[in-house]
């Protein structure tokens, strides 16, 4: 049985903004801020953010299939795309961090009690810096779906968590990338907290036949667009 309020009707007026007090995602109840946000002075809005260098990264940080002695079980995939701002300018040198469940739908995390096997060859974490054109690329395995306690027989659609640190401090995004055609998406309150269907569609990657590698791996493409972060003009300033 599924509660009627798990998925609210589409509402394009939200645009790209997620409804933070979305009732179908029950954990929002005592955690979503309940007061109007205060406008930041311009000089704080455009504050530069942290810059990360290559020295931070290990050689296998972006390849989640090679971080252990053996290979993880599951469907090998490439996940790649571009990081842009709203004006279409690439954001270079931005730190992208990802984490995900293994192919059985289990996270390597003490809180995860889903009775699916851990994979000794999969940690589920990766990171990289975007290149000069804003490109990023990960090698991983397709995560499994998993149950959660939000409501009766609740299952999350397969997803990869993404954290992005842009150039301005205000260019900060943590989100989730979903897979096209996942039958659980229509029932998931977390993705439906994005009320505008066009915005919701931006969270779903595209299957990318051109990037697949024969006899080796499938590929998905997912571009990420951050707000402007005025004052931070990554191409013009450098």
């Amino acid at each position: 049985m599924i509660d009627v309020d798990l998925v609210l009707p589409d509402d394009p007026s939200f645009g790209p903004d997620v409804q933070v007090d979305y009732p179908g995602y029950r954990s929002t109840r005592f955690r979503a801020p309940d007061r109007p946000l205060v406008t930041l002075p311009e000089e704080l809005h455009s504050l530069d953010g942290p810059v990360f260098g290559e020295e931070l990264l290990g050689p296998l940080d972006s390849d989640l299939t090679r971080q252990h002695e053996g290979e993880p079980l599951g469907e090998r995939i490439f996940v790649s795309g571009r990081l842009l701002d709203e004006d279409g300018r690439p954001l270079r040198g931005a730190l992208i961090e990802i984490w995900q469940a293994n192919s059985a739908g289990r996270y390597r995390h003490e809180v995860d009690q889903h009775p699916a096997p851990l994979d000794p060859n999969f940690s589920g974490a990766g990171r990289c810096l975007t290149d000069d054109e804003g490109n990023y690329r990960f090698v991983t395995i397709k995560p499994g779906s998993y149950p959660w306690g939000n409501h009766d027989n609740a299952w999350r659609p397969a997803h990869i968590h993404f954290s992005v640190l842009g150039r301005a401090f205000s260019q900060r995004l943590v989100t989730q990338m979903y897979f096209p055609g996942d039958p659980l998406i229509p029932f998931d309150p977390i993705i439906h907290a994005v009320r505008d269907p066009k915005a919701r569609a931006l969270l779903v990657a595209e299957f990318d036949l051109a990037q697949t590698e024969p006899q080796w791996a499938l590929a998905y493409r997912w571009d990420i667009v951050l707000g402007r972060g005025r004052g931070a003009t990554p191409l013009e300033q450098e």
Binding site: P16, D17, V18, Q19, V20, Y25, S27, T28, R29, F30, R31, A32, P33, D34, R35, L37, V38, L40, L44, L47, D48, G49, P50, L84, E86, G88, E97, W99, A101, Y107, H109, V111, D112, S123, G124, A125, G126, R127, H161, S163, F169, S170, R172, L173, V174, T175, Q176, I190, I191, A193, V194, K198, A199, R200, L202, L203, I224, V225, L226, G227
Partner: protein
């Protein structure tokens, strides 16, 4: 050209895998302690949250996941004027931005400072548009 922004989603309960792989909470390794508790609107400690702080003047960034008591700790520059921060948590569909007016806060004998974060309800932290 104006491209639509990618929407935010919660960090969920398992973010430590990706965001807390190593201690990153020393913006100034020899600095003073800044500690706080992250509370929900029920007054309960949030044990699956993560706080990021940015010292724009020294250009140092730090991150700390909350512990079983909802506590986060950082080492910060003793003479920092203010720090900008973001809070993330399970149940929080978009991170919230706040500012710590370090200079205005009371100090203990060691120069340590307390700054609690309340997501909701009475005494809620001031959050800014992003």
């Amino acid at each position: 050209m104006s491209l639509p922004r990618t929407p935010s989603q919660t960090v969920g309960p398992f973010f430590t895998i990706g965001l807390c792989r190593r201690p990153e909470n020393e913006l100034d390794p020899k600095g003073t302690m800044l500690a706080g508790v992250l509370y929900d609107g029920n007054g309960d400690a949030v044990r699956d949250g993560v706080i990021e702080l940015w010292d724009a003047e020294s250009r140092r960034f730090g991150r700390c996941g909350t512990d079983a008591a909802g506590t986060f700790t950082f080492r910060i520059r003793p003479d920092a004027d203010a720090l900008d921060g973001h809070v993330f948590a399970r149940g929080l569909l978009k991170h919230q931005r706040f500012r710590i007016p370090v200079r205005e806060l009371a100090r203990d004998d060691d120069g340590g400072t307390v700054f609690d974060i309340r997501l909701q309800g009475d005494g809620a932290t001031t959050f800014y548009e992003t």
